[in-house]
């Protein structure tokens, strides 16, 4: 199918596939499910950040015979969660490395008895020194992970950075910091597990990646693949927060189920979910940049550090994506990137929408405005002079073969926001106003799909089948958690097969039914898996034409009649396709050279911000987002992704602060971890430019993560425009802005107060 061909269903605002069930309150999330004779589970967690477990004692006032008790000694297989490096125990053995690490599990038929029982487990420790910051981990005087606390490092060199400094007209340096961010999906983590000696383990849960959970259960229970089954229940938000954590929770629930012989449900409350599960990696990024007198980038020397927490989990791949996004969407002949992920004694940081890119883009896009200010250049013009163009090579020497239209995106954003007129107006009004306004820009790309050779390693398998009941089912392990997987993939199948949207449904997200089409992460589903569905449908049509007399043109009824003939003659009607890399793609994992991503989505965002100089609160008043994401398969869902990502990005910049005390999240409640509400989100203007990507499902590229990458730098750049003060760290709550503005005006009377 030609990616630009006219379509009936792709591109149309069809109803969300599972929408009616969600609106009627009928959609079943894990906590809505019961199993016969089901027990409930709870986790007993560490109260210190690092130490040896000296003793575990049980309160004699509690009748422990009523409870199932599980420790690491009960693990039948490997006591390790299987991710990239299997360093994280499923249950702590004799030591703990962060607060709220799981040590012991309890189950009881009555969930109301669990809390008291958990408090009745007394654990004594011999504490060890703990690390709580990148700097403490770097120093290396206390080693908490491996030989040197270093979870992962990358070094990339392009050109010859050191040859540039001596003759550069301008050298600008800056250090930028980002804090942790909590996903705050409204549905907490939850899982139900059953264990049976013959059938093995079955789990139902709120999760993104059924086959990740599958892999950990195989190892922890030492089972063969036919004895493990993972079923995703309706999932109430994830944003990366249900990429790796559900593997741990599934193992916990299943260990309890094995111990007590009943199904066991574990459903976290908000405080536990906030304290014990993953967050976005904090970062510290240093830029040293050389420019010529016209503002053309000559060299970029970037040092990137992230706090990975106590175990490696996804830190290496988050670091990889951060590294590859750190130079921004700019052409530069000389780039040096040194990046490191450091171990500390906090809950492991993990995947969160953007996956390292928001940190990297915050730094480079704030830095660009500092450069512009230092050189007396218009921030838009500085960007324009340095943008990547079609045919340029980026940091990894990847040639931009697909069209790059950053100039057009920027121009449209400037026009739609009336950028120059508004800026000029604010410049006139600000000196006499207690509310100072400004405009800020961010420009960036987001690589779609797994990095480098990732998609080839995943080797995803996906397809469609036609049931006897006359329904096409899409066979994928990719999951719906709000983004629109179900809708987009069934649109693609119905479009390609030439049948009605209502004739296509999703097969249950159950590893016993669907093949491994890879995880639902990295903005890969519609682009990569969507293409597999498109190919599988074309393959099915060819087979029906060849073996079941399906003509060139047909109705839905004729299609299903042909499927019946095919089934009668040849058995089941199923078509599966395996991933094939686009031609001409190479990637060197050692040198980090080549096609870092199969495709890039591009965006320019502009924020208008008002800073109240009395309360020091900054408010986003209006927001514009112009993006090129390949073809837009569903206009309403696509806009919803952009708006939602921007709202989370506003939270990242101005509201959401994870307060750690002794390595433990102190504000683990919605009362004091604040996300934007209906009153806080500004009018958001969303514009798509569409350049279909040949190798994406119906021309689509990744969209889900893109919108979250840019709001924070755009907002802080707008605050710089409003106040003249460039703040280099987020989150920026009023107290932080107060400190920054006071520091900047030390010994001066505040202008307005």
């Amino acid at each position: 199918m030609n990616a630009t061909a006219k379509t009936r269903i792709v591109g149309a605002p069809v109803p969300r596939k599972e929408g009616v069930d969600k609106l009627l309150g009928r959609a079943l999330y894990v906590d809505d499910l019961e199993r016969p004779e089901m027990w409930h589970g709870i986790t007993v967690r560490s109260s210190i950040p690092r130490g040896k477990i000296r003793s575990i004692e049980f309160d004699a006032c509690i009748d422990w015979s009523e409870f199932a008790v599980v420790t690491a000694a009960d693990v039948p297989g490997k006591n390790r969660i299987q991710l990239i490096v299997a360093d994280q125990p499923c249950l702590a053995e004799n030591a703990v490395n962060h607060c709220d690490e799981a040590i012991l599990l309890l189950a009881h038929p009555n969930k109301h008895k669990l809390r008291e029982a958990a408090a009745g487990v007394k654990i004594e420790y011999d504490p060890l020194p703990a690390l709580f910051s990148i700097e403490a981990s770097e120093r290396g005087d206390v080693i908490v992970w491996g030989e040197d606390n270093l979870l992962k490092s990358f070094t990339l060199e392009k050109g010859d950075v050191d040859s540039v400094w001596a003759n550069a007209e301008h050298i600008i340096e800056g250090e930028y910091r980002t804090g942790a961010q909590e996903h705050l999906y409204i549905e907490n983590n939850g899982m139900i597990a059953e264990w049976n000696a013959e059938r093995g383990v079955t789990v139902w849960g709120s999760l993104q990646c059924p086959y990740y959970v599958f892999k950990s259960l195989l190892a922890v229970f030492a089972l063969t693949e036919d004895k493990v089954r993972v079923i995703q229940t309706e999932t109430g938000g994830a944003f990366g927060g249900k990429e790796d954590y559900p593997s741990t929770l599934a193992c916990h629930a299943a260990l309890l189920a094995m111990k007590c012989g009943h199904a066991v449900k574990m459903f976290y409350d908000r405080m536990e979910d906030l304290a014990a599960t993953t967050k976005r990696h904090p970062s510290r990024i240093r830029h040293r940049t050389a420019l010529d007198r016209h503002g053309k980038l000559l060299a970029m020397d970037i040092e990137l550090a992230t706090d990975g927490g106590a175990y490696s989990t996804l830190s290496s791949t988050v670091l990889s994506r951060a590294t590859l996004h750190a130079p921004g969407p700019y052409a530069c002949a000389n780039i040096r990137l040194r990046s490191r992920a450091w171990a500390t004694n906090t809950v492991p940081y993990g995947a969160f929408r953007g996956f390292g890119a928001p940190q990297a883009i915050f730094a480079i896009e704030r830095h660009m405005d500092e450069i512009a200010a230092a050189m007396g250049l218009d921030p838009a013009e500085l960007r324009r002079r340095n943008f990547l163009h079609t045919g340029d090579k980026n940091t990894t020497e990847q040639e931009m073969r697909e069209p790059v239209i950053l100039d057009e995106l920027l121009e449209r954003a400037l026009v739609e926001s009336d950028y120059y007129a508004r800026r000029a107006g604010f410049a006139r009004e600000n000196p006499t106003s207690a509310v100072k306004r400004g405009m800020g820009i961010s420009a960036y790309y987001h690589g779609s799909g797994f990095t480098g050779s990732g998609e080839r390693t995943l080797n995803s398998l996906a397809g469609v089948e036609v049931t006897r009941e006359g329904v096409v089912r899409v066979l994928v392990s990719n999951t719906e958690f709000g983004q629109g997987t179900n809708t987009a993939l069934t649109q693609i199948a119905a479009e390609t097969l030439g049948i009605h949207y209502d004739d296509v449904t999703m097969a249950p997200p159950d590893t016993g039914i669907v093949p491994n089409s890879g995880p639902t992460v990295a903005s890969r589903t519609v682009m990569v898996v969507g293409k597999l569905i498109e190919r599988a449908c074309l393959q099915l049509l060819a087979a029906l034409g060849e073996h079941a007399e399906l003509g060139e043109k047909f109705t839905s009824a004729e299609f299903f009649a042909a499927c019946d003939r095919y089934r009668a003659a040849r058995g089941k009607v199923e078509s599966l396709c395996r991933y094939e890399a686009p031609p001409g793609v190479y990637w060197d994992d050692e040198k980090y050279r080549g096609e870092a991503y199969a495709a890039y989505a591009w965006a320019v965002q502009i924020a208008q911000v008002a800073v109240d100089m009395v309360t020091y609160s900054a408010e986003v008043e209006e927001f514009w987002s112009v993006q090129e994401v390949g073809r837009v398969l569903h206009p309403v869902l696509a806009s919803g992704q952009i708006e939602g990502g921007i709202a989370q990005g506003i939270g990242y910049a101005l509201y959401e602060k994870v307060v750690l005390q002794n390595g433990r999240m102190a504000n683990n409640q919605m009362t004091n971890y604040i996300m934007p509400t209906a009153e806080d989100v500004p009018p958001i203007h969303v514009y798509f430019e569409e350049i279909p990507f040949t190798h994406g499902g119906y021309g689509a590229k990744g969209i889900g993560e893109l919108p979250h990458d840019g709001p924070a730098p755009a907002i802080l750049n707008a605050i710089r425009d409003a106040t003249g003060v460039g703040v280099c760290s987020i989150p920026l709550l009023p107290e932080d802005l107060f400190k920054a503005l006071i520091a900047a005006t030390e010994f001066e009377e505040p202008a307005v107060l």
């Binding site: 969300r16 008895k113 999906y185 549905e187 109430g236 983004q483 869902l637 806009s639 409640q669």
Partner: protein, 168 residues
């Protein structure tokens, strides 16, 4: 812990119900566990997120903060009650058309809050919709599609778009 139970008589979605529950059991749990009305969701358990919103005697409440004894004799309306016999109403159809539901976990509470708003103010402005939904958190949509959905239900589709555009 005392497990003394009391009879709770109340009306849920127009139907008279009697359950025997501990008097301090949360209305949220009575609905979900005793009546198996699982459309009402728990997001935070402390009245911040609004996922458990129901109407009680015509007031919008967080059912996680209401003890069962307080609901005795009350009229309670949940998301299930917004669609008698599972029939989609104008508000549901607008949410479907304008993308007001993504992951769906906040949706039941959001619909109840929106229905409550429209019951008192059938033609709300965008500012009034923002205020009316300020107690209901949605992490997926950024609220924009939800505003559009509620305005469309109240004013018709085109008028909703204009209101959103004007506000910009």
């Amino acid at each position: 812990m005392s497990q003394a139970r009391a009879a709770l008589h109340f009306t849920v979605n127009g139907e008279e119900r009697v359950v025997h529950v501990p008097p301090m059991k949360r209305l949220l749990d009575v609905l979900r566990e005793d009546l198996r009305l699982t459309g009402t969701k728990e997001g935070c358990g402390e009245g911040e997120c609004g996922s458990c919103s129901v109407r009680m005697n015509g007031e919008l409440v967080n059912s996680c903060l209401v003890p069962a004894l307080q609901a005795d004799g009350a009229c309670v309306e949940t998301v299930e009650g917004l669609a008698p016999e599972g029939k989609l109403q104008a508000l549901h159809l607008a949410f479907l058309k304008f993308g007001g539901a993504q992951c769906g976990i906040c949706t039941p509470g959001m619909l109840v809050a929106a229905a409550h708003l429209l019951a008192h103010n059938p033609r709300p402005s965008l500012a009034e919709v923002r205020e009316g939904l300020a107690g209901n958190l949605c992490r997926c949509t950024g609220f924009v599609r939800i505003f559009e959905s509620v305005l469309a239900a109240a004013h018709g589709n085109d008028a909703a778009r204009e209101k959103i555009a004007d506000a910009g």
